[in-house]
C-alpha cells in the first residue's frame, strides 16, 4: 500500500454564497504524481492555493507527514516543503539566476552553496543562455521554465502546478511538459491542475477530479 503523506480532510470553502468544497477529502502519496481536472471555476486552483497556504479555508485539517494542523492556521514550516507555481508565474525584477536563488536565500543558504544548485536548476530547465537576463523580460515559455527551475531547486516534497501550459505556444508547451514529466519522475509529489490532454495522458499520472464540491478519483 502506498503511504499518503499529505491528507486533507473536512475541507470547507466558500466564496460568498457559492460553496466550492463541502467536507472534501484529498490525499497524496509520497513521490506520486497527480493531475487534477474539473470544470472551469470548480475550485482546482483554490484547492492548490489552500494546500500552499495562500488562501484560507473555513474548515479543514491538513496532515503532512504525520503532523496535523488546521488549514485555517497554516503552519509556516510547511512553506518550506510545499511550493506552488502560479498559472502565469511571477518572476521578480532581478536576473534569472537571482530568481532561481530566491528560495535558497530566504532559507539562509550561503552563497557558495546556492551557486552550484542554481546553476544545476537553470541547466535542468534548459535556460542557461538566460542566466543573467532580466527575468521580467522573458517570453511566456521561458518564464514558465524559470518558474519550474525556481521551484525545483528548493527540492519541495509537494509541488503544486496550476495550469502550467495555459496560454503557451506549441514549442513552449512541449518544453514545459518535458520538464513536468521529469519533475513527475522525481522525488517530490507533483499535483498539476489542468485541462491539457498532453499532461493528463502523461504516463504515471494519477487522475483526480473536482466534482460536486468533492475531490474524486
Amino acid at each position: 500500500m502506498i503511504e499518503s503523506f499529505v491528507v486533507l480532510t473536512g475541507l470547507h470553502k466558500r466564496y460568498g454564497a457559492r460553496v466550492l468544497f463541502e467536507d472534501a477529502r484529498v490525499q497524496f502519496a509520497r513521490g506520486a504524481s497527480y493531475v487534477l481536472t474539473g470544470d472551469n471555476g470548480c475550485g482546482k486552483t483554490t484547492l492548490l492555493r489552500m494546500l500552499a497556504g495562500l488562501e484560507p479555508a473555513e474548515a479543514g485539517v491538513l496532515r503532512f507527514d504525520g503532523v496535523e494542523a488546521p488549514l485555517a492556521r497554516y503552519p509556516e514550516a510547511l512553506r518550506r516543503s510545499i511550493v506552488y507555481v502560479h498559472q502565469h508565474p511571477y518572476l521578480f525584477h532581478t536576473t534569472v539566476a537571482d530568481n532561481v536563488a530566491y528560495g535558497l536565500r530566504v532559507r539562509g543558504l550561503p552563497r557558495a552553496q546556492c551557486v552550484p544548485r542554481v546553476r544545476d536548476a537553470i541547466a535542468w530547465a534548459g535556460v542557461e543562455h538566460l542566466t543573467g537576463a532580466r527575468a521580467h523580460k522573458l517570453s511566456g515559455g521561458e518564464t514558465q521554465r524559470v518558474a519550474l527551475a525556481r521551484a525545483r531547486v528548493l527540492e519541495p516534497r509537494l509541488l503544486l502546478l496550476d495550469e502550467p501550459t495555459a496560454s503557451l505556444d506549441a514549442a513552449a508547451k512541449r518544453h514545459a511538459i518535458e520538464l513536468i514529466e521529469r519533475l513527475a519522475g522525481g522525488i517530490a509529489s507533483v499535483v498539476v491542475a489542468c485541462h491539457d490532454r498532453d499532461i493528463i495522458d502523461l504516463p504515471g499520472m494519477i487522475r483526480l477530479r473536482v466534482e460536486d464540491r468533492r475531490v474524486v478519483a
Binding site: 510545499i82 511550493v83 511571477y90 521578480f92
Partner: protein, 231 residues
C-alpha cells in the same frame, strides 16, 4: 525693480563661500534629510500594512492620512509649538526653537506623503509578488521586503516627494524653529526674512539652491528609475 544686479550678487554670494549662507543651506539639508531618515522606515511599513492587511476602519484611516496631505503646515507647526512650549506636555524636552523641533515638524509633514505614496505603490503591485515570495519560503517580513523591492520606484517616489515637501516648507519651520540665525534658519525661512528686509540677492541665491535641489531630486528619481520606472 532691477533683477539683474541682485541675481549677479546672489551668484557671487554662493560661489564666494559665504559662511552664513552655507550654514542656512546646511541647516535645511540636515533637518530635511535627518527627518526623512527617521520617518521613512516606519511610514513605508505603515503604508505597506494599510495596503496589505485588511482591518476594520482601514478606509477611514486611508481617508484621514490622505487628508493630512493637504493639512496646512503652519497648523502642524502650531500644534507642535503648543506641545513643545514650556507649558506644553512635552515642554520638559526643551526642544522648541532648536533644529530638533524642526525635524519633528518635518517628520509629521513627511509622514502622510510617505504613507500615501507607499500605499498606492503597494496596492498597484501584482498580488503574485507577495504570494510568490511566500510560497518560495519567505516569512511575512521578507515577503513584504520583496514586495517593496518590486515597487521600489513607487517607494523612491514617496521618499523624494517627502523630501521635496519638507525642504521647501516654511510655516512649520518658522513656528517651531524660530528662524534663529546660525541655528534654525533654513532656506525657506531665510528667503522669507531676506525678502522682507529687501535683501533680494540672498533671497535669490537661496531660491536658486532650492530650485537646484528640486530639479536634482527629480533628475535623481528619473535616473534611478531608468527604463524600469517606465514599464
Amino acid at each position: 525693480m532691477d533683477l539683474l544686479e541682485p541675481t549677479r550678487e546672489a551668484f557671487r554670494l554662493l560661489f564666494s563661500g559665504d559662511a552664513a549662507l552655507w550654514q542656512i543651506i546646511w541647516t535645511s539639508l540636515y533637518c530635511s534629510l535627518l527627518a526623512l531618515a527617521l520617518i521613512a522606515p516606519p511610514s513605508i511599513a505603515l503604508g505597506f500594512l494599510i495596503a496589505k492587511v485588511p482591518f476594520r476602519g482601514r478606509r477611514t484611516l486611508v481617508v484621514a492620512v490622505q487628508a493630512l496631505l493637504s493639512f496646512p503646515t503652519v497648523v502642524i507647526g502650531l500644534v507642535i509649538y503648543m506641545l513643545l512650549s514650556r507649558q506644553g506636555p512635552l515642554g520638559f524636552l526643551k526642544l522648541l526653537f532648536t533644529p530638533e523641533a524642526i525635524i519633528v515638524g518635518y517628520m509629521v509633514i513627511a509622514l502622510p506623503v510617505l504613507v500615501v505614496f507607499t500605499l498606492s505603490a503597494v496596492q498597484g503591485a501584482d498580488p503574485r509578488v507577495y504570494e510568490t515570495a511566500r510560497t518560495l519560503g519567505a516569512g511575512r517580513l521578507r515577503a513584504a521586503w520583496t514586495t517593496l523591492a518590486e515597487v521600489r520606484f513607487g517607494v523612491m517616489a514617496a521618499v523624494f516627494n517627502g523630501f521635496g515637501r519638507v525642504v521647501s516648507e516654511v510655516g512649520c519651520a518658522i513656528m517651531v524653529g524660530g528662524n534663529i540665525a546660525g541655528l534654525t534658519r533654513n532656506i525657506p525661512t531665510a528667503i522669507a526674512l531676506e525678502t522682507s528686509k529687501g535683501e533680494f540677492a540672498r533671497g535669490i541665491a537661496l531660491g536658486f539652491v532650492l530650485i537646484v535641489l528640486a530639479l536634482g531630486i527629480n533628475a535623481a528619481l528619473a535616473l534611478l528609475q531608468g527604463e524600469g520606472g517606465m514599464e
